[in-house]
């Protein structure tokens, strides 16, 4: 049987194809932008032990009383004493930051042991008390975790608590109609059981970050 010998041009073709394919992958690798907050979170974990932003030598957890979704008074300091408390200011009509934070925390909380879960308290304070009725607050939080605590207070009272924590007051754009947006701080503040420091979790905190930090915070 006659065998056809391939021309050496085939070798050049192969080389070209390999070079082009590798170059394309190389170009795309250059586009492989890792989100800056990821590397920052990992760098923080190396230096402080937490992927969140550690604030050392801080005041004890804030002392305020608001109304929970059952209509009863909730004393934040007394109710969360000796527990890891995660405090967040948001609103249930929030399209992005609030549901993402709540869903992330709830997902990671479910992975913890029952004992660990008992030793933490997640508190959501609404910055939009007008639309966030007690029923709405309870129903919305139950979608994530029934143990999440929803608190309400007057706008002035909630704003003053936020300012006391170094957070900007919420901005309610009620001129935008019934579906008005509310500008609010997007970070979750973690108060460890022993107080003395707090850890800030900005928007962009991933479930992997919570999974890394929550067990460490529970030990403090």
């Amino acid at each position: 049987m006659k065998r056809v010998r391939r021309s050496t041009g085939g070798v050049a073709g192969r080389a070209h194809a390999i070079v082009v394919f590798t170059a394309c992958l190389g170009l795309l690798s250059a586009c492989r932008v890792e989100a800056p907050e990821r590397s920052e979170a990992e760098e923080r974990a190396r230096t402080t032990g937490y992927r969140g932003i550690l604030l050392e030598d801080t005041d004890p957890r804030p002392d305020f009383v608001l109304t929970d979704a059952r209509g009863e008074a909730f004393d934040f300091r007394a109710e969360t004493e000796g527990k890891l408390a995660l405090l967040f200011f948001g609103y249930t009509f929030c399209p992005d930051v609030c549901p993402v934070h709540m869903a992330s925390i709830a997902a990671v909380k479910r992975d913890l042991s029952v004992e660990e879960q008992r030793r933490m308290s997640i508190v959501f304070v609404t910055v939009d008390p007008e639309r966030d009725t007690p029923e709405r607050l309870r129903e919305w939080l139950s979608n994530f975790d029934p143990s999440f605590v929803g608190l309400r207070g007057t706008e002035a009272r909630v704003d003053s608590i936020m300012l006391g924590l170094g957070l900007p007051a919420a901005i309610r754009d009620t001129t935008a109609g019934p579906d008005y947006p509310v500008g609010h701080a997007s970070q979750v503040i973690a108060f460890p059981p022993g107080d003395g420091f707090r850890v800030i979790y900005p928007f962009g905190t991933r479930q992997a970050d919570w999974k890394h930090d929550l067990p460490r915070l529970l030990k403090k």
Binding site: L28, C31, V33, P95, V100, A103, A107, G204
Partner: protein
Amino acid sequence: MLVVLLAVLHWSLRRAGGGERIQKETRAWFGGVLALWIALDWPVGALAGYLASAHMLQYLLTALVAPPLLLLGVPAGAWRRLASRARTVRALRFLTHPLIALAIFQVTLYYTHLPSVVDGLMVTPLGSFALDTLWLLGGLVFWWPVVAPVPQRPGFGYPLKMGYLFLCTLVNTLPYAFLTFGELPFYGIYELAPPVGILGPREDQQLAGLLMKVGGGLILWTAITIQFFVWFRREGEAEGPAPAA
């Protein structure tokens, strides 16, 4: 724009083909364009920025459904013209060698599903376009040895084509396993996206993994079945009619 470009390309290929009757090819071609349209336009294209499962559906349509249809839609005359270009055929012979094609497709599959790549590229329209283009090109290279008549590969018959497709069903198991059984969401873009529907990021990722395995498997096994029946029919034709008793 992509759909218009593809339609124009097909029109020019038809012209190059000499105006023969090519209804079957036209149906396949527009089937491919339709798959691309569904993948890239609303709602799948829009949801692909929010849900990993929609992103996976986009991948299946762009890399596994559209390419074979587009290749089947190329008129015979265009294939003849291509076959007359020796240098192009030589390059295609290498690039679409089954082992090379499978390797290119798998590298593309793995690379374009890496969390850092998805998170880095999906945040910009250009990056998203780069992913779609990679999937389409990877899919064309993968399906080429199965569907395209140029270059001829007499040694790569139906049984080997079936084996080639079967091999592909196995190698997507690794990303499927990572997505389906991963404890945490891999992709920041989907984890931190505004919620859509009732699926949380983990469930959405599991659905994406299942789509990759089940949806991808369904497409590949359909192709394997078609290859089997075509092979069966051709064998029957080759043997000729049974002699009269």
